[in-house]
């Protein structure tokens, strides 16, 4: 049986791995569920806000995922790096959490102070995509508040629970 300090050290290591991957990768897969409990997945360009343990992305307010989030804010989010030849090198993070949506973004200053910086970072990072792919007058900001995360590399699997989380189901 491991001691509390060993558990904390393990959580810190897992958090570092989770944050490392979320910081490097740009495309994640969000899974939402509609009122009939039918799952829906879409790839999104995202940014990670380390100090808030939140994931942030901008999307069209008329999209299916937004309609689903309004019905059911529980979401699952996965980021993974695939290795074509060796399954033991596949790496990924899966997050369970709650999604929150903002109003249509007309001005960055309308956002809460803590989000202005991350939002600007997101826009800078995905400037070309945001301008080409999205109509800004219909764009809204989605934040995923992380409740649980799991990092895997091959067959090694490390779950972690965040302090502010409410109970959010099991992972594996």
């Amino acid at each position: 049986m491991r001691s509390l300090s060993e558990d904390l050290a393990e959580d810190e290591r897992t958090l570092a791995l989770v944050e490392g991957l979320l910081g490097e990768e740009r495309i994640g897969y969000i899974c939402t569920g509609d009122r009939n409990n039918v799952p829906h997945i879409t790839p999104v360009f995202f940014a990670y806000i380390p100090h808030l343990h939140e994931i942030l992305f901008v999307t069209d307010r008329t999209s299916k995922k937004i309609r689903n989030i309004i019905d059911n804010p529980h979401v699952s989010f996965t980021v993974d790096i695939r290795h074509l030849e060796d399954p033991f090198k596949n790496e990924g993070v899966m997050i369970n959490g709650t999604a929150m949506i903002s109003d249509v973004i007309t001005d960055v200053d309308d956002l809460p102070g803590t989000l202005r910086g991350p939002y600007r970072t997101y826009i800078e990072r995905f400037d070309r995509i945001v301008k080409r792919g999205k109509r800004m007058d219909r764009s809204i900001l989605v934040r995923i508040i992380m409740a649980k995360a799991a990092y895997w590399m091959g067959t090694d699997f490390h779950p972690i629970t965040f302090e502010h989380s409410l109970y959010y189901g099991d992972f594996a």
Binding site: I27, I41, T42, P43, S76, R82, I129, G169
Partner: protein
């Protein structure tokens, strides 16, 4: 996306449907709808009432004209066979008329021509029936070089004209339905051949939805019954070698043509070329499930595609399996990323139901499961090798022990969304 012209042509097809161009019915369908009193009954009871009525008339005539029990029994067999064919005709007609135009103009036109031939306003479906009736009438009345004594065997030397009239009426019923069988199976074979020829001309997002392809398969598989039901008539004609041979040949023709048509239509991909190549090209997918507390769950998986369905394997004790057991709804996303231009990323999301293949499903699906297993070995040889050589490193749940540790799961599609150049296109399945 279909071009403007193609879209216009689709609209024309739809308009024609709305205007009732495909509303023509087979002669028998029209008669069944107009039968006094019976036409008010639901279809099922209408046919049952016809059967009872015809049987009662047959038995009454048998008693009145003192016919042999064997003759009455033969008459009953013929009536029953005719009614079985009628049920088929009444069931298949509306299904075929309900087909919607596909998203491929050429395939829409094939379906349109198919329906036009089947439900021709000139009632071409009667032609084979008329030929069968005329030839068999001539044969039964000894107007041909080959003679028969069937009528004498059934009714003696002096058959009553009323009985003979009713016998010929039934004779026409049988001939018409046999002819209808020949007509529908032959026209369906032509349709399937045309589909296969046109397949090479599909472009981008042109396709016929799975729902309609399954409908065509369903119809073709029922056409077998036209042939099988005809075998019921063999005891009636067993004393006549020529008619018995004709029945066997008829049955063989229907079964072979239906099988060929079914085989051809079964090989048609239900995905448009752009999505088909994406699904074949893709190496990994993301599978989304949700438990009964509405908690979504998404993980990457390796998958294979057999031309019709996508399959992935997972551990028996995984969260995915537990979720699917609680709620079989599933989302399956396959995407291909362009490393140089994210705007060239492509993805397809298939939502539907998941089917877990457990122990009980092995025997009835042995061929399918073996094919899936072989596809995994072909697509992921390095993975399979790593799993074998690195077995000791694997946790139990990951070990490649089919059905004990890992189960195959099939995604049965219901909806489909395709992303291309940051645009999403919803396509019917």
């Amino acid at each position: 996306m279909p071009s403007e012209t193609a879209r216009d042509d689709h609209n024309i097809c739809r308009q024609q449907e709305e205007e009732g161009e495909f509303e023509h019915k087979w002669v028998y369908e029209s008669i069944a709808e107009r039968l006094p009193l019976l036409s008010h009954l639901p279809r099922r009871y209408n046919v049952l009432a016809q059967l009872i009525l015809m049987e009662l008339i047959g038995i009454a005539l048998g008693r009145y004209f003192d016919l042999e029990i064997r003759t009455v029994l033969f008459g009953s067999i013929v009536i029953l066979t005719t009614i079985l064919w009628s049920i088929l005709a009444l069931e298949l007609g509306p299904i075929i008329r309900d087909f919607k135009p596909s998203r491929s103009l050429s395939e829409s036109l094939i379906l349109k021509r198919y329906r036009k031939r089947l439900f021709s306003p000139r009632h071409l479906e009667m032609a084979p029936g008329v030929v069968i009736f005329v030839l068999s009438f001539a044969y039964l009345n000894n107007w041909m070089p080959w003679e028969t004594s069937l009528l004498v065997t059934w009714f003696g030397d002096q058959a009553n004209p009323v009985v003979l009239f009713l016998v010929y009426l039934l004779h026409w019923d049988v001939s018409y339905r046999m002819g209808l069988g020949i007509w529908v199976t032959s026209v369906s074979l032509v349709r399937s051949i045309m589909f296969r020829i046109e397949l090479g001309w599909r472009r981008k997002l042109e396709y016929t939805p799975l729902h309609d392809l399954n409908g065509l398969r369903n119809i073709d598989s029922k056409f077998f019954l036209f042939g099988l039901f005809s075998l019921l008539l063999i005891p009636v004609f067993i004393t006549d070698t020529l008619l018995t041979s004709f029945l066997l040949l008829y049955s063989l023709y229907i079964v072979c043509v239906s099988f060929l048509s079914l085989h051809l239509i079964g090989g048609i991909p239900w995905l448009p070329p752009d999505i088909h190549s994406l699904v074949e090209e893709g190496m990994f997918a993301h599978v989304g499930t949700a438990d009964d507390r509405r908690m979504p769950h998404v993980t990457p998986v390796a998958y294979v595609f057999d031309g019709h369905s996508v399959y992935f394997q997972t551990s028996v004790g995984s969260k995915k399996v537990r979720n699917i057991q609680q709620n079989p709804r599933i989302a399956f996303l396959i995407d291909v990323r362009d490393p140089d231009d994210v705007m060239k990323n492509k993805a397809v999301l298939i939502t539907g139901r998941a089917r877990i293949f457990g122990w009980r499903d092995v025997l009835p699906n042995m061929i399918k499961l073996f094919r899936v297993w072989a596809l995994f070995h072909d697509k992921y040889p390095e993975y399979v090798q790593e799993y074998i050589t690195g077995r000791r490193r694997l946790p139990e749940a990951w070990q490649l022990t089919p059905l004990i540790r890992r189960v195959p799961i099939e995604v049965i599609p219901e909806t489909m969304v395709f992303w291309q150049e940051a645009r999403h296109i919803a396509l019917p399945v």
